[in-house]
């Protein structure tokens, strides 16, 4: 046992494990914020009374949701960076970090959209009718009446999406973010194959520590904030 612990000590001494997790947390943080915004816009398009917006929202969700994240990330690297020569920053690492955030955002926005739409389905139709009946146009009715209730009904599925996003942030390696966990794990295994169990445990436990509080928090919040009817 002591031997096993010393293996961990050796790994943590030689590699910046916490720093790698910190990169994933940052990727998740920014992608979560941007995908929440984009996903809300998409959800609004899908519930709007305008047919062309509904169609565009539906098309976006179906295309992005069904594209493997690795392909989106590789696209950011091969197409956007190599072919189109688009630069997000002069700094190499910052550039790819931002590409990764964009890739994660466009992919997870599709899931956020569907989580919010499931929340909208928890809001009785009468709420929207009452909002329209007092003279609120679509957007104010959505902002003041529908979305505040829909978000409360969508906390649990949004939490699921956040958990998936955190784990999917490791795919940022495909967009050449070289400091995050999956890249570090590969490096560690390549040079320390004798410590494979310790390496595996390090990353497995690391993600468990990050994911479990998200699940507990969203369950608590969805009960706490539920709209009483």
């Amino acid at each position: 046992m002591g031997d096993f612990l010393s293996q961990f000590a050796e790994l943590f001494a030689n590699y910046d494990v916490l720093g790698a997790f910190w990169v994933n947390i940052q990727l998740t943080f920014w992608a979560a914020i941007f995908s929440l915004i984009l996903g809300t816009v998409l959800a609004l398009m899908r519930i709007s009374p305008i047919a062309s917006l509904q169609w565009a929202g539906t098309a976006y969700v179906n295309i992005l949701r069904n594209t493997p994240l690795t392909i989106i990330m590789t696209f950011m690297f091969l197409a956007v960076w190599t072919q189109l020569q688009i630069r997000m920053s002069d700094d190499f690492a910052t550039n790819f970090f931002r590409f990764a955030v964009i890739g994660l955002t466009v992919y997870h926005a599709a899931f956020v959209c569907e989580a919010i739409r499931s929340g909208v389905n928890t809001v009785p139709l009468g709420q929207a009718e009452a909002a329209r009946a007092i003279g609120l146009p679509f957007l104010p009715a959505a902002r003041l009446i529908i979305l505040p209730q829909a978000f409360r009904g969508a906390i649990a599925p949004l939490g699921n999406t956040l958990i998936a996003l955190l784990k999917n942030s490791t795919v940022a390696a495909a967009a050449s973010v070289s400091t995050e966990t999956s890249t570090l794990m590969r490096e560690m295994i390549e040079s320390n194959s004798d410590l494979i169990y310790a390496i595996f445990m390090t990353f497995a436990i690391g993600f468990v520590i990050l994911v479990i509080p998200i699940g507990l928090l969203t369950t608590y919040l969805s009960n706490r904030l539920a709209v009483r009817r």
């Binding site: 009468g126 009718e129 329209r132 009946a133 007092i134 003279g135 146009p137 003041l144």
Partner: protein
């Protein structure tokens, strides 16, 4: 079914001279739900200050008629005018018109995440752009009038059905509407709560509010209505004063319907 102490009803005349110009006009209105022809060539005029009760069996189209007047249901053909203006198709103009048409629903539909007071002030503040303090003051006066001022800080789910429906009436009144639509306002209520809602509606009628009320409450119709319209299978079958309609219905369908709701 007769509520209240109304044995000595004053008989409102169908074409009382106190009524104003036409406020709500429907001409040749048709609507289908798939194969079902739910509104068939509806012609109806409601004048300013008039209280119209729409009665009929379920599925007769009376709720659809009520909802079509502020375009919660679209119509296939025909024309609906409110205060001389044709109903706009969509967008800002429609929203503006809806603000002038108060609506009370069967299921109350109070905004579940807002307090009672916020439910009443939301329209005046966000649609009419009134100052918050002025809107609050007026909302509290309205809540006082419908007898739920002491509940102003609570959430809708904490109130009884009758209280919620009275708040819904206050919410509609806060917009200072030209006409109020009531879509079966007491159908979802426990019997002991029906009268508290009807009392508010009767008081409103007495003050001269133009009202279109879909209801089966004959007591209300006798006390407050100028006219009763009987609908069946998407058509207006009969129009009469409440007294005429309930004591001497002319059509067989109205007789049949009344015998069913009066038989026990």
């Amino acid at each position: 079914m007769d509520h209240g102490e109304a044995t000595t009803t004053t008989e409102p005349a169908g074409t009382s001279p106190t009524l104003g110009p036409p406020l709500v006009e429907l001409k040749d209105v048709n609507k289908h739900f798939g194969d079902l022809h739910v509104l068939q060539d509806i012609d109806l005029t409601v004048r300013k200050g008039e209280v119209l009760v729409v009665i009929g069996p379920s599925g007769s189209g009376k709720s659809t008629l009520c909802r079509a007047i502020n375009r919660l249901e679209t119509i296939d053909s025909g024309e609906i005018r409110i205060d001389g203006q044709p109903l706009p198709e969509e967008g800002k103009a429609l929203a503006k018109l809806r603000a002038d048409v108060g609506m009370v629903f069967q299921a109350f539909n109070l905004f579940a995440h807002k307090t009672i007071l916020e439910n009443v002030t939301l329209g005046p503040i966000k649609v009419r752009r009134e100052r918050t303090s002025a809107a609050k003051e007026r909302a509290l006066a309205l809540l006082d009038r419908v007898g739920v001022k002491n509940q102003a800080g609570k959430m809708p789910a904490q109130l009884s059905g009758g209280q919620q429906q009275r708040v819904a009436i206050a919410r509609a009144l806060a917009m200072q509407p030209k006409v109020m639509l009531f879509d079966e306002p007491t159908s979802a209520l426990d019997p002991e709560m029906i009268n508290e809602v009807l009392d508010v509606m009767v008081a409103l009628a007495k003050e001269g509010m133009t009202m279109i009320v879909v209801t089966h409450e004959m007591g209300f119709a006798r006390k407050a209505a100028n006219r009763v319209v009987f609908m069946s299978d998407g058509q207006i079958v009969e129009e009469a004063t409440p007294e005429e309609f309930f004591t001497a219905p002319r059509s067989d369908r109205a007789k049949d319907f009344l015998s069913k709701i009066l038989s026990h």
